[in-house]
């Protein structure tokens, strides 16, 4: 038996002990601990410190703010389209401008808003909800944010340079291919996808590891909040769905840049291969956007109803089955491509069956509200409850689209535009806005104004239906999607004008929401740790939480720890307060396993993101950019993982002002 083996044997026997009436638990002991933690987890002041921050709360906030920035840009583009379509034969936009605008609108909303923002909510909330001091791999997290930010900046600088993609957010071949996609526009789209893939995959990995290994003792899987479950499932969907678009967009760039023939039917390629690969990612994408919203629904409804959601297990199971079936429905985007009848029937069936699990969840929520212990109709609850009226319409029109013969009529018409906005806005953006409203006090320490909140909600509710409901009728009356104008003789202008007016109402409601945020940041009522009387752990710490989230780290004995204070399980002591240490637990029952020091702030993630972005952009103009551009990335990565004394210094608390040299260690 080598000394190493004896050491392993000994270490495996080291287990936590119960500390009784410990000095560390006296008021002053806890105070001393907090002061030490403040010092250890403090990030320092100044630009460099800001750029090298790795705190999941800071990054989550940045993600959310950035995502809403892109949401605004995408919204402005939508407004331009509504102006153009408000009357027939309008010349407000040229066809070339319109095509770039609708493409960039779709791309922004899917890749730069919907997915990042829901993942960002997870980044901010999951560690708090599972009672962890930090996210796993905080530096990877920072890297993912910078990649996302640079990707968005890349898209919009190209857009303003008139190199905006103009082939639709789905970039069908051969229109986006080397022969018909003149210039660099299609490459810009494909490379933006690469940026967002990288960031989404990294976030998904961080979330999975955090949820599996950093849950505080006592939080066995069956005690995990539903939102955490949703984020876990979504993270797995991301890592299974994204590879498909990784490959297809890479092949697109290769076809355009080095003349491979993946999508060239004359040399054995196939344009439909693109559609299969794209939608094998594209449809799960919808559920990636939608499931986290369901998680938020559950948290908010449980809180408003003062009771846990009915049928916790069925909720989890239906989210799981949605995730599974979600990978088996992609062909319903291709019903018009002339595929064999049999496969169509199969995918029809799958596309209809996926309604059931979502239905079950909706029934569960209704039952929860029904059996509430004095339901409180808060603003977040309004946003969530609107789903019963709006999202349902989207879900039901989804059934319409699953029926082959009808789909071949309304496919690629405004009926589908209406459907997808009812699903995505009704099923994700409404809950998201409610969720922001709900967790705003936790993030900022202040409440949003209830009156402005209600005004904004009702404006959105009215404006949304005004904009998108008429589109069902337009589709049935034969108006195709993606047309930059339409002749007066078709009689579509009345409904289009109505939709455009509705868009204006939506705009007003969002302005009200923004005003509410700005005003409340300054003058909002100060929120306590738990203003809504919610049950989950993020409400156990102060608002906003300290950099180290919890001290002492709580443990749990039920799935609603804050509603069962009588259980009061013993908190955690003994985590180092002079290094950024977290407690790693076992996967299933979250028994304490070992302590693990998290790295401190660093500039390397930013530098790696810069070098990576440079390589990505270079490579769409010159193939050799891939080779030469990779060298700086490698250097940056080595710098990132190179251990130095400096890092030790950081782990023992950041100096008052972080200099670039220190933050590069």
């Amino acid at each position: 038996m080598t000394p190493g083996e004896t050491k392993r044997r000994r270490d495996d026997e080291r287990r936590p002990r119960l500390a009784d009436h410990d000095a560390r638990l006296t008021v002053e002991g806890l105070e001393r601990e907090r002061r030490a933690l403040e010092k250890t987890w403090w990030n320092g002041r100044g630009l460099v410190a800001w750029l090298s921050d790795t705190d999941h709360k800071a990054i989550g906030r940045r993600y959310i703010v950035t995502a809403f920035g892109f949401f605004t840009l995408g919204g402005v583009l939508a407004a331009l389209m509504r102006i153009q379509l408000s009357r027939p034969d309008n010349t407000f936009l040229s066809p070339d401008q319109y095509n770039q605008i609708f493409t960039t609108h779709g791309t922004t909303m899917m890749f730069l808003f919907a997915v990042p923002v829901v993942l960002a909510m997870g980044v901010y909330l999951v560690p708090l909800m599972v009672g962890a001091r930090s996210m796993a791999f905080p530096r990877m997290l920072a890297f993912s944010y910078w990649m996302y930010l640079f990707g968005g900046i890349f898209l919009y600088s190209m857009f303003f340079l008139n190199i905006g993609p103009d082939n639709g957010w789905f970039s069908y071949l051969p229109l986006a291919g080397p022969e018909y996609g003149y210039g660099k526009r299609a490459d810009v789209w494909a490379q933006l996808i690469t940026f967002t893939e990288v960031s989404a995959l990294v976030v998904a990995t961080c979330l999975i590891v955090t949820i599996f290994k950093l849950r505080t003792p006592g939080m066995s899987l069956n005690r995990m909040p539903l939102f955490v479950w949703a984020m876990l499932i979504v993270s797995f969907m991301v890592i299974f769905a994204m590879p498909s678009i990784v490959i297809s967009s890479t092949c697109l760039i290769l076809d355009r840049l080095v003349s491979t023939h993946f999508y060239n039917q004359a040399e054995g390629g196939d344009p439909l291969l693109w559609q299969h690969l794209f939608w094998f990612f594209g449809h799960p994408e919808v559920y990636i956007i939608f499931l986290p919203a369901l998680g938020m629904m559950s948290e908010v409804i449980a809180t408003s109803a003062r009771r846990p959601v009915v049928g916790n297990l069925t909720m989890v199971l239906s989210m799981l089955s949605t995730a599974f079936i979600g990978f088996g429905v992609w062909v319903h985007h291709m019903f018009a491509t002339g595929l064999p009848e049999l496969s169509l029937s199969f995918f029809s069936a799958a596309s209809m069956m996926i309604v059931i699990p979502t239905g079950i969840q909706i029934f569960n929520w209704i039952a929860t509200i029904w059996s509430a212990r004095r339901l409180q109709i808060t603003v977040p609850f309004l946003y969530m409850a609107s789903l019963f009226f709006i999202f349902i319409i989207g879900g039901l029109t989804g059934v319409v689209l699953a029926a082959g013969p009808v789909d071949r009529q309304v496919h690629d018409t405004y009926f589908v535009v209406a459907h997808l906005h009812y699903v995505l806005i009704g099923g994700s953006t409404f809950p998201l806005l409610g969720g922001i409203f709900f967790w705003f006090p936790k993030m900022t320490g202040r409440m949003l104004s209830d009156r402005l909140g209600r005004a904004s909600f009702w404006l959105l509710f009215v404006g949304f239906n005004m904009t998108f409901f008429p589109m069902h009728l337009l589709g049935l009356d034969g108006m195709p999607r993606r047309v930059y104008t339409y002749p007066a003789s078709m009689g579509w202008h009345g409904l289009n004008l109505l939709a455009s007016v509705g868009a204006a109402v939506i705009f007003v409601s969002l302005v009200v929401y923004l005003v509410n945020v700005i005003v409340s940041l300054r003058a909002g009522a100060v929120a306590g740790p738990n203003p809504w009387g919610a049950a989950t752990l993020e409400w156990a710490t102060s608002s906003p939480p300290p950099a180290y989230n919890f001290s002492p780290q709580p443990t749990v004995a039920s799935s609603e720890p804050l509603w069962h204070t009588e259980l009061a399980p013993p908190p955690i002591v003994g985590l180092a307060s002079d290094t950024r240490e977290v407690l790693v637990t076992f996967l299933l029952d979250a028994e304490p396993d070992h302590r693990y020091p998290m790295p401190g702030p660093s500039l390397w993630p930013l530098l790696t993101a810069i070098t990576t972005s440079a390589m990505f952009v270079w490579s769409i103009f010159q193939a050799q950019g891939v080779v030469w551009g990779s060298i700086p990335i490698f250097i940056a990565l080595v710098g990132w993982f190179w251990p130095t004394k400096g890092k030790k210094a950081l782990e023992h608390g950041a100096p008052t002002r972080l200099t670039a040299r220190e933050s590069l260690s």
Binding site: R8, D11, H21, L25, L201, E267, G269, P570, L587
Partner: protein, 202 residues
């Protein structure tokens, strides 16, 4: 909760964990899922394209077996020093880790060199037809993994030999790196089968 007088004292538990106990293992696992599905999707696309044309390869001969098979052997053989590295790391045997990691790197140099000969043995250019495109991408993707695996093993070896801030977690790194090595080797087997026997079996 801070008012409680009883607490769970974790100050005595270890600061590392091997295998599925470590965070790194899970990150590696997630990476392996991602890249595994990437390979799977390219292979599916390969079969899809194969099914659409009468002859496969459409024109020209199939890839020569020699270099690819040789590389398969080298990769499989590299599992031995890799396994020994992993074992050594998991009993904190620094000397053995240094030795076997060095051997692994030698193998890595070997299959990196042979890999570039493989491209020549494909008998087709990427811009000749869809078949050429898909085999080049398949081989290219795996090459990226072979190269990166070599590079990060190299960096790790340097860290081990220089010995800066050498603690248990560095040995965990070695063990996870070995895990990823296995991944690179075992994903090669289906890819090898597809590239070299896909054209031969019709």
């Amino acid at each position: 909760m801070a008012s409680s007088r009883v607490a769970l004292d974790v100050s005595d538990i270890p600061e590392y964990g091997f295998g599925h106990r470590s965070l790194l293992w899970w990150a590696t696992a997630s990476m392996m899922i991602i890249e595994g599905s990437v390979f799977a999707i390219v292979i599916v696309s390969y079969l899809y394209l194969k099914g659409r044309v009468p002859h496969w390869p459409p024109t020209g001969p199939s890839p020569q077996l020699f270099w690819g098979t040789l590389n398969t052997i080298i990769l499989l053989a590299s599992c031995v020093p890799n396994a020994l590295t992993k074992k050594a790391a998991e009993r904190f045997d620094l000397a053995a880790v240094k030795l076997w990691l060095a051997v692994c790197l030698l193998f890595a140099v070997g299959f990196n060199v042979v890999r570039f000969l493989e491209f020549g043995a494909l008998n087709v250019r990427w811009d000749a037809n869809a078949y050429g495109s898909v085999v080049w991408v398949l081989l290219g993707l795996h090459t990226v993994h072979v190269v990166t695996d070599f590079l990060d093993s190299l960096v790790l070896a340097v860290l081990i030999f220089v010995g800066t801030d050498l603690n248990e977690r560095r040995f965990v790194d070695v063990s996870e790196n070995a895990l990823y090595w296995y991944f690179v080797v075992f994903t090669w087997l289906p890819i090898y089968a597809v590239i070299y026997f896909g054209p031969r079996i019709s």
